[in-house]
């Protein structure tokens, strides 16, 4: 079976600093891949490159075989135009650490925006899809609330509904519980777990080690912009091979 997402030799630099030094990664349909590693190891940058929010310097990202973000013309790499980038981005969903809901729109309107403007669905249809997804994340009763009137956990669930309503091929989650108060983390993790159980393909950057171990089908450990170890979570967490992974895991369990 062909992977949904393939990343080959991905290199990303910020000035003279190389943030990603040749990443290779495949994500298959139904995979839940968790990316773990210390702050600054390049996990979030990798996610942002995949979602085309960052440009990258070399290598290739393909979604369903289609090269993302760039085309090669006469041997030269050219960044795609805005409209093309937008079309490619609409096929992936992204959930951010700080939710990033649109503050001037209700929960329902947040979810509807992409449906009406990107997928160009009629308002009535968009509304019923948005209601379905808000219901799915347990927020049917909050659809007419503005983001500032609901809790962080609820905001994050709205953000998840907003991403999923677009029926993305792949859902990218960037430390989605890091900005939440401890008592609100569980409701978001429960939501994500239920998505994993229904076969949503996900690439998850997380600091919740227990969650990563329970929910993911594969775990990838990154350090200094490179993938050091990857495999089944039981192996990564149970029998880490490299010294750096062992050190990281012990620092996380303290």
């Amino acid at each position: 079976m062909k992977p949904i997402l393939t990343i080959r030799d991905l290199v990303k630099t910020f000035g003279s600093h190389t943030v990603l030094q040749g990443i290779n990664l495949d994500v298959h349909a139904g995979d839940v891949v968790s990316l773990i590693g210390a702050s600054g190891s390049g996990k979030t940058t990798l996610l942002r490159c995949v979602d085309l929010l960052e440009q990258f310097d070399a290598g290739e990202i393909r979604l369903d075989g289609e090269p993302m973000g760039y085309r090669v013309e006469a041997g030269r790499r050219m960044r795609l135009k805005g409209r093309e980038l937008a079309r490619q981005r609409s096929r992936m969903g992204m959930v951010f650490q700080s939710f990033n809901l649109f503050p001037h729109l209700t929960a329902l309107r947040n979810v509807m925006l992409g449906l009406t403007k990107v997928r160009r669905l009629p308002v009535a249809e968009a509304r019923s899809i948005a209601e379905h997804w808000l219901d799915r994340v347990g927020l049917a009763g909050r659809r007419d609330y503005y983001p500032s009137a609901i809790s962080g956990g609820q905001q994050q669930r709205v953000a998840i509904a907003r991403a999923l309503a677009m029926e993305p091929r792949l859902l990218l989650l960037d430390e989605v519980t890091s900005a939440l108060d401890p008592e609100l983390v569980q409701e978001v993790l429960v939501t994500i777990r239920s998505l994993a159980e229904t076969g949503t393909t996900m690439l998850i950057v997380t600091h919740e080690m227990r969650f990563a171990r329970q929910v993911s089908t594969r775990t990838v450990f990154m350090d200094h912009g490179a993938i050091v170890e990857e495999g089944e979570p039981a192996v990564i967490f149970g029998q880490p091979e490299s010294r750096r992974l062992r050190e990281f895991l012990s620092s996380m369990s303290q």
């Binding site: 805005g82 980038l85 981005r89 951010f96 649109f102």
Partner: protein, 217 residues
């Protein structure tokens, strides 16, 4: 000697006409100024060097010049290129440009105050830059500058009195003409002041209502 009320009765038509011109020229200036100010604001924030530089020049020149000088310039300078706008056109244009420069600058501040994460979220959904502007950035910026918008409108109404200098028969010039004939100086200046105040109270009240209605929640 006529009483104040007699003069008022005989000149009420002229006064009403002046009041209407003040309201009309201010409304035109504010409406044009908002449209033009939106262009300035977008150019200053998202224009890149080529577009934002000329916009920055215009905005700085306009904001650094007294409104009266701006009005006189708009009235007298077009003759140099063979145009001869009437005082009303020149005056309304000057006020509109003044209004636009202020709104453009305020709008730029409002755009910059929106976290870049909002643009990320919009991009991630697949919105184009134009759609992101229209559905995410502009609605938030407008809510932020609403109080300033009311302020600017009030400033324009007051500044419209300067059009009397180029002979636009607005409220102040009309008042001065009535005083010239009747010598009721105190009474009619007080009346004119009261009328300006009344217009601005209406604007402020309307603005407050709009703000409540479209508050950034």
């Amino acid at each position: 000697m006529q009483s104040f009320l007699d003069v008022l009765a005989s000149s009420s038509g002229a006064l009403l006409n002046g009041l209407m011109i003040t309201i009309a020229v201010s409304a035109i200036a504010v409406a044009t100024g908002i449209a033009l100010g939106a262009v300035f604001g977008l150019a200053l924030t998202y224009g890149g060097a080529v577009v934002s530089f000329p916009a920055r020049m215009v905005v700085d020149i306009v904001r650094g010049t007294p409104v009266l000088v701006l009005i006189l310039a708009c009235f007298y300078m077009p003759a140099g290129i063979g145009l001869s706008p009437g005082p009303l056109t020149a005056g309304a244009f000057a006020l509109a440009v003044f209004c636009a420069a202020h709104i453009g600058e305020t709008l730029r501040g409002a755009f910059l105050a929106i976290p870049s994460a909002q643009t990320d979220a919009a991009s991630a959904l697949g919105l184009t830059f134009g759609q992101t502007l229209g559905y995410v950035l502009v609605p938030q910026a407008v809510r932020q500058i609403a109080p300033n918008l009311v302020n600017t409108a009030v400033e324009i109404v007051k500044a419209s009195s300067l059009l009397s200098a180029i002979g636009v028969g607005e409220l102040l010039l009309t008042t001065q003409e009535i005083i010239g004939r009747s010598f009721k100086t105190m009474e009619f200046y007080a009346l004119a002041g009261g009328l300006y105040l009344a217009i601005n109270l209406v604007i402020a009240t309307g603005g407050a209502w709009l703000e409540r209605r479209y508050r950034l929640r």
